[in-house]
């Protein structure tokens, strides 16, 4: 007769229910996979799947709708905040978010993001900043760092030729319609944890009836940057954060509580 030891195993990591079980098209070392997972974890933990309408934008992340198991509408390039406005205004009970890259949000879509913010649209904006146009082959974005080489700034971005990196989240944080604005990163596990907390806060604020909540996430593009995946992560945590410092820029709903993480609950 054998005696079984008591089963003390605890499940500490699994695929979130709302992350689809399929291979990713993203390049090795790309940050979208991590960020998709964070979004899927939160939507699952916060039981938002049945009420969520996501707005996908143009760029590598347009395929977010293949990986997040929720209703999605695809937006023209840069127009996601306007599309989300339309969804919000006729679906007051829906949970609405946009998922936008930096070319989409900080270049072609500046008018749409600024005015959705000015109107205080009750939407959450997940703004993934990797400082480059990834899908089209690594061209310079408005967020590209000074000196950074891209396929359209082959000598490195020069301010006198191409201006300065645009700190658009800081600009948006000035607007009273923005209830929450923060910048996180996915460069290391602790940064990922802090970024998840920011996203949770952003989602809570929408559910509490606040205005726009935006989380900028510093991400990677190893292929576009000409780096290995580990080099790209290190580049974010050592270099990119000097231009784009991490932290909460504004929280205009400080009295509104934040929901509990599943590990804390």
């Amino acid at each position: 007769m054998t005696t079984l030891a008591p089963d003390t195993r605890r499940l500490i990591y699994e695929r979130p229910e709302l992350l689809t079980d399929r291979s990713s098209h993203y390049c090795p070392g790309c940050g979208h996979g991590i960020i998709h997972r964070l979004v899927a974890e939160l939507l699952t933990e916060m039981h938002l799947g049945p009420t969520t309408i996501g707005v996908a934008s143009v760029g590598c992340s347009v395929f977010a709708y293949d990986y997040l198991d929720i209703d999605f509408v695809e937006s023209p390039h840069g127009r996601a905040p306007a599309v989300a406005t339309g969804v919000r205004r006729v679906r007051p009970d829906a949970f609405v978010f946009t998922y936008q890259g930096d070319g989409d949000l900080a270049a072609i879509g500046t008018a749409e993001i600024v005015h959705a913010a000015a109107r205080g649209e009750r939407i959450s904006v997940i703004f993934v900043n990797n400082g480059i146009y990834g899908m089209t082959g690594g061209q310079m974005a408005p967020t590209t760092l000074l000196g950074q080489r891209t396929t359209s700034s082959p000598a490195g971005r020069e301010a006198n030729l191409a201006g300065y990196p645009i700190p658009i989240t800081e600009m948006l944080a000035l607007l009273p319609g923005v209830s929450y604005a923060a910048r996180g990163s996915i460069a290391d596990p602790s940064a990922i944890g802090r970024t998840k907390k920011m996203l949770r806060r952003a989602f809570d604020i929408q559910l509490a009836g606040g205005g726009m909540s935006i989380v900028e996430i510093l991400s990677t593009c190893p292929v576009g940057w000409g780096m290995t995946a580990p080099e790209a992560m290190e580049h974010v945590s050592k270099e990119v954060v000097l231009t784009y410092p991490l932290g909460v820029m504004v929280d205009r709903m400080k009295d509104s509580p934040t929901s509990k993480d599943k590990d804390e609950a």
Binding site: F72, E74, A82, V83, T85, V90, V114, R119
Partner: protein, 367 residues
């Protein structure tokens, strides 16, 4: 279903009548941006929609407005957008996306003179844009052209019905006269029945998620999607052609005109008849699908066709395609906000008659 009739005619401005028609047709959301000569439409909705608890947003641009419409339409809402020529150019991008994603919407274009900033006076110089495509890609959009304010009221309701029946944007193509003129109307409002859509985004509650998109990266997939769209357009072309004729029974010369130009033409054919010329009018109501088959059937028994437009000659190309040289086609157009007079149209009809008389037929100048 008719929801309201008033026995007595009321004096209504075209822009306001179309706005109220949309409200009575069950429009859930309106998004717009100020531009002359359709600003009253935006203003009417700004007052009426909030008092009915419906969505109204004055957007930051026409790009913003139509993309808000895209988002609202994706949830199955009945959505109206309006603008005028330069604004429609900006909206072209989202028109293409909405056609590709098969999202219903009604878009009212109160045309003004172009190109560029042009003028704020009435024009029909956006016929090409409306009927041959606004944005990129192989797609079509039904285009309805009212010629009176009462007809505009009716066509707004019809446009919503058509948009939902075929999952497509539908354009009402009016011009500055249609938008700005006031005339007595007995408004007969209609609310098209709401059919369960089955594709709209509501949150994936107890069902698989839905994705509304125009992106199909695999060529095989995109071709299949395009074939599906083209099959839909073939059905629309077969079933939705509309036109109206007057005095066609014995006509030897027929004026083809739509919208405001048809109003001028109606006066012109009466004057021509007083002068002994048997004139009639063929008025397309759907500009796409164009009533080519019916015009082609009529053409062989005519001496000539005279096309009148508030443009340098755009619809005339579709008329020529329809009649395929079987009947001489003459054209008269004014541009920049100038409107042809009945006397000008009668003069062109007389020239057409003279040029197509037996002696002159070999050397007729067709334009």
């Amino acid at each position: 279903m008719t929801v309201e009739t008033t026995a007595r005619p009321v004096l209504m401005k075209g822009n306001e009548a179309m706005a109220e028609a949309a409200i009575q047709a069950g429009c859930d959301a309106y998004f717009g941006y100020p531009i002359t000569p359709q600003a009253e439409l935006l203003e009417w909705m700004a007052r009426r929609m909030p008092e009915l608890g419906r969505a109204f947003v004055q957007a930051e641009s026409e790009l913003g407005a139509i993309n808000m419409a895209l988002g609202a339409a994706a949830t199955g809402a009945r959505v109206l957008v309006s603008s005028s020529s330069p604004g429609i150019s900006l909206m072209a991008e989202a028109m293409s996306y909405m056609a590709g994603s098969e999202l219903p919407m009604v878009l009212i274009n109160v045309m003004r003179g172009g190109p560029g900033l042009g003028s704020i006076a009435p024009s029909q110089s956006d016929y090409f844009q409306a009927t041959k495509g606004h944005g990129h890609g192989d797609y079509r959009v039904p285009v309805l052209a009212p010629s009176s304010i009462a007809e505009a009221v009716d066509l707004v309701a019809e446009a919503f019905a058509m948009a939902e029946r075929y999952r497509t944007p539908v354009m009402i193509l009016a011009d500055g006269v249609m938008g700005q003129a006031m005339e007595p109307v007995v408004p007969i409002y209609r609310m098209p029945p709401r059919e369960p859509a089955g594709w709209e985004l509501t949150g994936a509650d107890g069902r698989p998620p839905r994705i509304l998109r125009s992106l199909h990266l695999q060529p095989e997939d995109l071709e299949a999607h395009n074939q599906k769209l083209q099959a839909k357009y073939a059905v629309i072309s077969e079933r939705e052609v509309r036109w109206a004729g007057e005095r066609l029974e014995d006509a030897e010369i027929v004026v083809v005109a739509y919208g405001t130009a048809a109003r001028v033409a109606r006066t012109a054919i009466e004057r021509a008849r007083e002068a002994g010329l048997r004139a009639g009018i063929f008025r397309p109501i759907t500009l796409w699908p164009f009533p080519s088959r019916d015009l082609a059937a009529l053409a062989p028994r005519l001496r000539a066709i005279v096309v009148v437009e508030l443009s340098a000659g755009q619809m005339v190309e579709d008329v020529r395609l329809a009649v395929e040289g079987r009947t001489p086609v003459f054209f008269h157009g004014r541009t920049g906000g100038m409107v042809p007079t009945p006397a000008e149209v009668v003069a062109v009809m007389e020239r057409a008659r003279d040029a197509t008389s037996a002696a002159a037929s070999d050397t007729a100048v067709l334009r």
